[in-house]
Every structure is written in structure tokens, then in C-alpha cells.
């Protein structure tokens, strides 16, 4: 090959790099490893990564069963090693899959249309706010404190630099958005109200009441959904203008936080303001049905600095996992799956309530609930860890006002015996605290 090119050595090909820019030593990185060594190294890391623990964590990342056909299909090289389907004649498989994905997401969210996916729920939510600003021509947002705290952080990063003021609406004793507070905060310059439902505490919001307040002021309503399985049994937020969703629950591994699958869905009239890729149906020269990426004039490779967003990928392969999951469960299975999740949480919340305080009990919830204990939940969790159980997420890091509260999650994979064991250990903690307090109190009385 060198001869064909007409050079003597490969080094000649690197002559364009000025000598002072060249690296004249080996990179200081681990030496080349055989495949068996690579596998061993990662297996060791897996052992140090919580393998074999039972977990009650949710909070935006949920452990649901993943039907095995998902990985069998997404590992087909034609999906795994293909590119963004710009050359439509050669990528109909990916394009049709996206079209089906968009259809099912629209059906489930109650929206008119959905895009081909976004990076994740947090960035989808952020893009939804920027989209609402473009649509309304306004430049401020009211966001629920019960929105996932990390979603709020991501939004704040973008909003700060775009000069979008954010106001935060608190939650009421029910765990739902405080409607009185919301009425005070929404004004005629509000681009959107952003809530999550089921919210970070697992509480299902009264979306219609919130929509009414937002719409009275001409603001849009964005509903963020972090637990997609809820859509099987919880009424979708039809009154919303934009739905921003994290679809990880639909067949995507927890994977220590990613890659996941964000989605944006909206009303027909806003189609030209939605960011991200869209697959559309059309015909070929012979009238045969086919699919293409469409409305590309919104995107960066055409519009450059005037694009609706700088985004130029979706999460195609992860969206394909979601796609297959939605089809496996389908119209009936998704409902039954959601019902099982609901049954587990109802049982777990009842059991916890016998020994500790379950907060926000007056509003409906999906598969998470908040338990307030007398003892610091970090201390309880470290004891649970000894039993190979990861307890609920202590909330004081995000919500100092909730004190010793923790967010517990159950899914269809949580067994009754796991719940009973965890409840037993929490009950032990409550009893221990009580028995410590009682002599003290008696002492004071004396």
C-alpha cells in the first residue's frame, strides 16, 4: 500500500504534523490485553459494583424485567453497527423502527406525535422548556420542586446561560404541587409550567388542575415522566402541551445511569418547534411506502446557529430496546405489568405504615413512596446493606426539609419476602429508637 501511495514509510504520512506537535513516546496507558484478560478485569469490577444486592432504589432509574429477546435483537449487527439513517434507501429497518417507536410513544403519552428520542429524561425535560420558550415567545418558567432534583439541576445549567429565570413551586402536604403557590407564581410572562407525574415522590399529580392554571395565563404545561411503566395504568397527561419522558423503564438496563432514552412528545401544532430527529412516512418513485428522516430544516446540519437545538443524535439503539419492550408487553401486558407494580407498592406502603410514617398518603401514587423514620435513613441503610439490601434513597441531600425521609421503590421484580425483610429491619430500627427514647423521657419526667 505504501508503494501504491508513493511513500517509503507510514511516518512519511504523518509529516504534515509539525515535529513540535508530535508525540515521540508511548502513551502511558495500560498495556495491550488479551480478550480473556479484558473479560476478567470487567468481571472483577462487576463484583465490586453491587452484584447480588436486592435494591429498593428508584428515583428516576427503575429495575424492571427485560425480556431476553431485546438483547437478542438489538445485537444484530445491522442495528448495532449501522449509522443515523440519512441514506433512507439503505436504512429502512432503522427508520421503520423509529416510526413505530414514535407511534407507540404518542399512544402511551396521549400526545399527537413524538420524536425519535433524546439523550435522557433530564435533557428531554430541559429541551422541552426551551421549546416552550420558542413557542410562547416568553422567557421564564415555573418548575415543580417535586421534579427530579437532577433534572432541575440540568435545567438550571442550561437556563442560567440562556437567561431563562426559573421559579420553583413547592409541594403541598399531599406531595402534590401546591396549587395555591402555583397560582401565585404563574404570570403572563411565564412560558411554561413544568411538573413531573408521577412526581419524584411517586405521587400522581392532578394534571388537569395544573393545566388549567397554566393555560389561564397562556403558559404551556410540560409534564415530565420518569417512570414510563406508570403509563400502563395511570391516565396520561393529555392536558399537557409537551410530555418529556425517560423511557428507561421500558427494557433498558439500569447500567449505573446510562445510556437511557429520553423522549419528547407534543401536540400537532408544535411539530415544527420540536427538537431532535423525526421519522416520517412517504413514498418512493414507484409509490411504495417508505420512511425518511424529515423536517430536517429544524436541525443543526442545515440551520447551523439557527437550529432549534444543537442536538445531532438520538439514542437509536436504546430506543430500539424500548420499542421491543413496548411491543412484547403491548396493549394488555403493559396494563397488567403496571398493575403488578401498583400491587407491590400498595402492599409495601401498608407494611411500612405499621412501623413508620408514610408521607404523602392522601394522593394516588404509582411505584414509589416516602417513608419517614426516627433514625437517620443512612444509618438504617448501612445496616440493611449488611443483609445485601439497598434501602430507599435518603432524601435529605435533595430535600433537607423532609428530614429523615427516604424514597422507596418497588417494581414487579420486588418480592414479598424482600419487602417483609426490609420492613422488618426498619421496624427494628424504630423499636430501638423508641426504647432508647422512653427511658430518657421517663428520666425527664422524674
Amino acid at each position: 500500500m505504501l508503494k501504491a501511495i508513493g511513500v517509503r514509510s507510514v511516518d512519511d504520512l504523518f509529516a504534515p504534523i509539525p515535529a513540535e506537535c508530535r508525540l515521540d513516546r508511548d502513551l502511558n496507558i495500560p498495556r495491550q490485553m488479551a480478550e480473556s484478560e479484558i473479560v476478567d478485569w470487567f468481571k472483577l469490577r462487576a463484583k465490586e459494583s453491587g452484584e447480588g444486592y436486592t435494591s429498593f432504589l428508584g428515583a428516576g432509574a427503575y429495575s424492571h424485567y427485560r425480556p431476553v429477546i431485546i438483547d437478542a435483537l438489538v445485537q444484530r449487527g445491522e442495528f448495532l453497527t449501522s449509522y443515523t439513517p440519512y441514506q433512507a434507501e439503505f436504512a429502512q429497518g432503522t427508520l421503520q423502527a423509529i416510526f413505530e417507536f414514535q407511534t407507540m410513544i404518542s399512544e402511551l403519552t396521549g400526545m399527537d406525535l413524538a420524536n425519535a428520542s433524546m439523550y435522557d429524561g433530564s435533557t428531554a425535560t430541559t429541551e422541552a422548556v426551551m421549546m416552550a420558550c420558542r413557542i410562547s415567545g416568553r422567557n421564564s418558567a415555573v418548575i415543580a420542586r417535586s421534579l427530579h432534583p437532577e433534572y432541575r439541576e440540568v435545567l438550571r445549567t442550561y437556563a442560567t446561560h440562556q437567561g431563562i429565570p426559573l421559579k420553583t413551586v413547592s409541594f403541598a402536604d399531599s406531595g402534590r404541587v401546591d396549587l395555591e403557590d402555583l397560582r401565585k407564581l404563574v404570570a403572563d410572562d411565564t412560558a411554561c409550567v413544568l411538573i413531573q407525574s408521577p412526581n419524584f415522590f411517586g405521587t400522581v399529580e392532578d394534571v388537569e388542575a395544573i393545566a388549567e392554571i397554566a393555560h389561564q395565563h397562556g403558559a404551556l404545561l410540560i409534564v415530565s415522566i420518569a417512570e414510563a411503566v406508570s403509563l400502563g395504568i395511570v391516565e396520561p397527561p393529555r392536558a399537557a402541551d409537551i410530555v418529556a419522558m425517560e423511557a428507561q423503564s421500558f427494557g433498558v438496563p439500569l447500567g449505573f445511569g446510562g445510556p437511557y432514552c429520553g423522549v419528547l412528545a407534543t401536540k400537532e401544532k408544535f411539530v415544527r418547534q420540536i427538537p431532535g430527529r423525526l421519522a416520517g412516512q412517504t413514498v418512493d418513485k414507484k409509490g411504495k411506502r417508505g420512511f425518511v428522516l424529515t423536517l430536517a430544516t429544524r436541525e443543526q446540519h442545515i440551520r447551523r446557529e439557527k437550529a432549534t437545538s444543537n442536538i445531532c443524535t438520538n439514542q437509536a439503539l436504546v430506543a430500539l430496546m424500548v420499542n421491543i419492550f413496548m411491543i412484547v408487553y403491548g396493549k394488555v401486558g403493559l396494563k397488567e405489568l403496571a398493575k403488578q407494580n401498583l400491587a407491590k407498592i400498595a402492599y409495601a406502603a401498608d407494611q411500612f405504615a405499621k412501623h413508620a410514617k408514610v408521607l404523602f398518603a392522601s394522593a394516588p401514587r404509582f411505584n414509589e413512596f416516602v417513608v419517614e423514620t426516627s433514625e437517620d435513613p443512612y444509618a438504617i441503610n448501612s445496616r440493611l446493606l449488611g443483609h445485601k439490601i439497598v434501602g430507599g434513597l435518603p432524601l435529605k441531600k435533595f430535600y433537607p426539609e423532609l428530614g429523615n425521609a427516604a424514597l422507596w421503590c418497588c417494581t414487579e421484580l420486588t418480592t414479598r419476602s424482600m419487602i417483609d425483610t426490609a420492613v422488618g429491619l426498619v421496624a427494628d430500627s424504630e423499636r430501638a429508637v423508641r426504647s432508647m427514647k422512653e427511658p430518657e423521657e421517663q428520666g425527664v419526667a422524674r
Binding site: G50, E51, E89, E107, G258, N314
Partner: protein, 497 residues
């Protein structure tokens, strides 16, 4: 068929309808275990929030799902089927060991909020990959949080902004060469900057005198790609960096073309202050039909305080932890820690190569591109004679005289069993054919590609209309994109089925 193609041939492929068109009540591919707790009284628990109907969600059996997606998959082209010479996209082989290790129980099922005490393995992966990427780029610090290249760009530019802000003035403008990828200006605008175009010189490089004239204290940064989108190394990169730094500006490097540099040159050594990488390009994580990607951002020490939070630190006892107390941080750009599954794959790739392998990879990538350049020189117009690194850009100048443009040539290439090169980009080359073979291609595949491109050029001479009507061998012919955009049909409905 005009000319015969040695790589591809016609083949029976299955027709397949939309999944909704195969649905009928009662079919199912799921089964739940028996419930071990009392059944939920949904009406009581949810009240009016209970959902009744799931609309047009499908009901199909498992074999139908397997066939559905297997059939669809056969309609795609993929690296596993052959060369994918998309310029600036670095479509290299995606090693299967990467897929295997990313699915190891424990790594695949780790919860992002599980205690750090039982997450040391995952943290070790993040730390080891970070260290490797810092060494490869010659930078000082890194974040792996951004979910894709463009997301990394935005993260980098927000850090540029935060840096200038901390010095009292965020500045107003970002300079971007006219050869840049479209995300660069879109990103600068998203970060709140006005975009000012920078002209290339006649050798296809940044015009340093133009830069000197345009650079002033309103300019926050220059976003440069090196090698640039013409596949040309910016030979005056040191001078460019000096010009930027002299007026307090920063040099941002788009790492899309890092596959030309790994083990041979390091951006940190030629004046770059901040850059992003694409793990799905340089570090072999699969493109997956358009994602997921991963876009780490590496910086010099001056920008380290502004990294997104959290960052991974080593505690005095040697264990790893997430550090959140970062007062100057730009904040988060994504929930959790980024596309962790891609970190595993990229690290497996680095392990499989080591220092020698990575250097060899870069050399092979550059060798392959130059081999194609030599093979097609004279057949297609080469607008810039400056030496090529890992990719080469031709133009359709000769073929355009017959009315055949780069997109038409690309469509005909499909018939020959190749994915098209990148068309009509960079914008400074009218009718560009941007070709990046990567190191993965054996000489035999490169020869087939060169032969195909030569054959197409002959076809243009003999019968341009035949090329204009391509592709001829695909399931469907060219699609009506105008109709798709004018009346968008973005979902299936029973009535349009």
C-alpha cells in the same frame, strides 16, 4: 445493471408490514409471574387517574416480534456488512467483546444511586477511562457526563463561558472556521454566543492572518477541528493557539477527527484548552443507528474548576467517590453520570489496543485514507492538494458537468454494496465527497471501493441518467422527501394503514 459489482448482488429479502398491522386481540409475547401480594384495587388507589385504554398499542406473538425486527434489520446497511466510509463519522469496527463486558451482571444492573461503598467497580471504570483519555489527549482533567458529541461541545462551551465570566466578562463572540461541522455554530449559539465565520485559506486551513484580524477581546473562543473536516492537519495550530491566548481567548477543539491523532499527537501539547471526544467514533462504541453516543470533555487546569458536577475523586483511604462540592461548576448537563455503558465499551477498546495498538490504529487509518486518495485521484476532482490524514475530500466537479451530483454518486454507490461517503460536506467544497475508511478496512475492501467509485465515474460518462436514477437494487427507490416534510405523517393511525 450497467457495470457488474463484485461486492454485492441481488438477494431475496422479506417484506414486512408495520407491527400495528399484524396486531390482533389475544396475541401476546409476555407472561408475568403470579402475584405474591394482594391484588391492587386500582379504582381505589388511583381514582379518576386510572387509565382505561392503551389505544392502538399492538398485540403480537414472540415469533412475530423476532421476525419483525430480523426482517427490518436486513433492510439496513451496517459496518458488519462492509465498509462505511462516512467522513468525520469514523465508522470503525465495533468489537464484540465490548458488548459482552458491558452486559456483565453487576455492571449492567448497577443503580446510579446505590451506595459508593458497593459501587467501587463502576467508579474504577470511570476513573480508569478518565485517566486514559487524559493521557491520550494531553489534557489535565475530564468529565464523562455529556451524552453525545454535540452535548460535549455544549458542555465545553458553557465552561468557556463560565471561565470568562469568572474573570468578569463572558465575552460575546465565538469564531468558527467555514469548514466546521454544523453542530459547532449551533452549540455556540446555544451557549449564548454570536457566531463569526472564519475563512479558510487556499490550502484548506485556518487563515491565520484572517484570524489575527478578527481576534479581539470580544472573542471568547475559536472552535477548531483538527485535523479539520478536509482531513488536513492545521499546521499552524501553535500559532493559532498563541493568537487566541494573547488576547485572552480560548482554543476549543472538536475531537471528531481524533482517530487521526491518537498515539501520534496530543491536542494538549499544541495549545488546546478544551475539547470533546466522541467515544462512538474514536473509541469504537457502536453507532447503533444513531446513538447512544458519549462525548467526554477534556480541559486544561485553568478550566478544571468549571467541570460539570459530580467529579470522581480518590479519597485518602484509596476508595473512589463522587465529589459534589464544586462551587464554580457549570452544574449538571445530564442526570446521573453520563452514558456509563459506553465508558465500559471504550475502556475495553483501549485495553484491547494498549499504547502500541492505538498508535497502529491511527497509522492504519491514515494509510487507508491515503490509499483511497491515490486510487481515486484523477477520477474525481481533488479540491485541495494538501496532504490528507485520516480522510480525504473529493468533489463532484467533473461529474457535475454531466448533471450528476455528489448525492447521485452516493446513491449509486449503494448499488455497489457500500454505504455512501459523507455528501455535500464540508460546505467549503461544492459537491463534496468526504471519505473516511478508518483502520478497520482490509486492503481487499478498499480495492473493491476504489473499483466501485471508478466504475461509477465511467457510468456517469456513458449514461448519466442511469446514475441519476440510482439506487436500482434497493427494496425501495429514492423517497419523496418533499412530501414527507410538507404533510408530515409521523405515526401510524388505523385509518392511514
Amino acid at each position: 445493471m450497467k457495470h457488474m459489482t463484485r461486492k454485492a448482488t441481488r438477494h431475496i429479502s422479506q417484506n414486512e408490514s408495520l407491527i400495528f398491522e399484524k396486531s390482533s386481540p389475544g396475541k401476546a409475547a409476555w407472561k408475568l409471574p403470579p402475584l405474591d401480594v394482594p391484588e391492587a384495587d386500582t379504582a381505589k388507589l388511583l381514582g379518576k387517574q386510572e387509565r382505561e385504554d392503551l389505544g392502538n398499542m399492538p398485540e403480537v406473538s414472540e415469533i412475530e416480534i423476532i421476525r419483525h425486527f430480523t426482517r427490518l434489520s436486513t433492510w439496513n446497511y451496517a459496518i458488519d456488512l462492509g465498509m462505511f466510509p462516512l467522513g468525520s463519522c469514523t465508522m470503525k469496527y465495533n468489537p464484540r467483546v465490548n458488548e459482552f463486558v458491558s452486559r456483565i451482571e453487576g455492571l449492567a444492573n448497577g443503580h446510579p444511586y446505590q451506595p459508593e461503598k458497593i459501587s467501587q467497580g463502576a467508579l474504577r471504570i470511570i476513573k480508569t477511562l478518565s485517566d486514559c483519555l487524559i493521557e491520550i489527549t494531553g489534557m489535565d482533567a475530564i468529565t464523562l457526563q455529556p451524552a453525545a458529541g454535540a452535548h460535549g461541545e455544549l458542555t465545553g462551551m458553557l465552561m468557556v463561558r463560565a471561565y470568562h465570566q469568572s474573570r468578569g466578562n463572558p465575552r460575546k463572540k465565538v469564531l468558527i472556521p467555514d469548514s466546521a461541522h454544523g453542530t459547532n455554530p449551533a452549540t455556540a449559539a446555544t451557549a449564548g454566543y454570536a457566531v463569526e465565520n472564519l475563512k479558510s485559506n487556499d490550502r484548506g486551513m485556518v487563515d491565520v492572518s484572517a484570524l489575527a484580524a478578527q481576534m479581539n477581546e470580544d472573542v471568547a473562543a475559536l472552535m477548531v477541528t483538527n485535523p479539520n473536516t478536509l482531513g488536513i492537519f492545521e499546521q499552524e495550530i501553535h500559532k493559532i493557539a498563541e493568537l487566541m491566548h494573547a488576547k485572552g481567548g480560548l482554543l476549543y477543539m472538536d475531537g471528531a477527527n481524533m482517530n487521526a491523532l491518537v498515539g501520534k499527537a496530543r491536542p494538549g501539547d499544541f495549545g488546546v484548552d478544551v475539547m470533546h471526544l466522541n467515544l462512538h467514533k474514536t473509541f469504537s462504541t457502536p453507532h447503533g443507528g444513531g446513538g447512544p453516543g458519549s462525548g467526554p470533555v477534556a480541559v486544561k487546569n485553568t478550566l478544571e474548576p468549571f467541570l460539570p458536577k459530580p467529579v470522581v475523586i480518590t479519597k485518602p483511604d484509596g476508595t473512589l467517590a463522587f465529589e459534589y462540592n464544586r462551587p464554580q461548576s457549570i452544574g449538571r448537563v445530564r442526570a446521573f453520570y453520563g452514558n456509563f455503558g459506553m465508558f465500559i465499551r471504550a475502556l475495553a477498546y483501549i485495553f484491547a489496543n494498549g499504547p502500541d495498538g492505538l498508535r497502529q490504529t491511527t497509522e492504519d487509518a491514515v494509510l487507508n485514507a491515503n490509499y483511497i486518495r491515490k486510487g481515486l485521484e484523477g477520477v474525481y476532482d481533488l479540491p485541495y492538494s494538501t496532504p490528507s490524514m485520516h480522510e480525504v475530500v473529493f468533489s463532484d466537479k467533473a461529474q457535475a458537468k454531466k448533471g450528476v451530483r455528489t448525492m447521485d454518486l452516493a446513491k449509486r454507490l449503494i448499488d455497489y454494496g457500500f454505504h455512501p461517503y459523507t455528501t455535500a460536506f464540508p460546505l467549503i467544497v461544492p459537491g463534496a465527497l468526504m471519505i473516511e475508511p478508518t483502520e478497520s478496512e482490509p486492503k481487499e475492501e478498499l480495492d473493491l471501493f476504489i473499483e466501485a467509485m471508478k466504475s461509477i465515474a465511467e457510468e456517469v460518462d456513458e449514461d448519466p441518467q442511469f446514475v441519476l436514477d440510482a439506487p436500482h437494487n434497493t427494496r425501495i427507490s429514492r423517497l419523496d422527501e418533499t412530501q414527507a416534510a410538507r404533510k408530515p405523517v409521523l405515526r401510524w393511525r388505523p385509518q392511514n394503514g
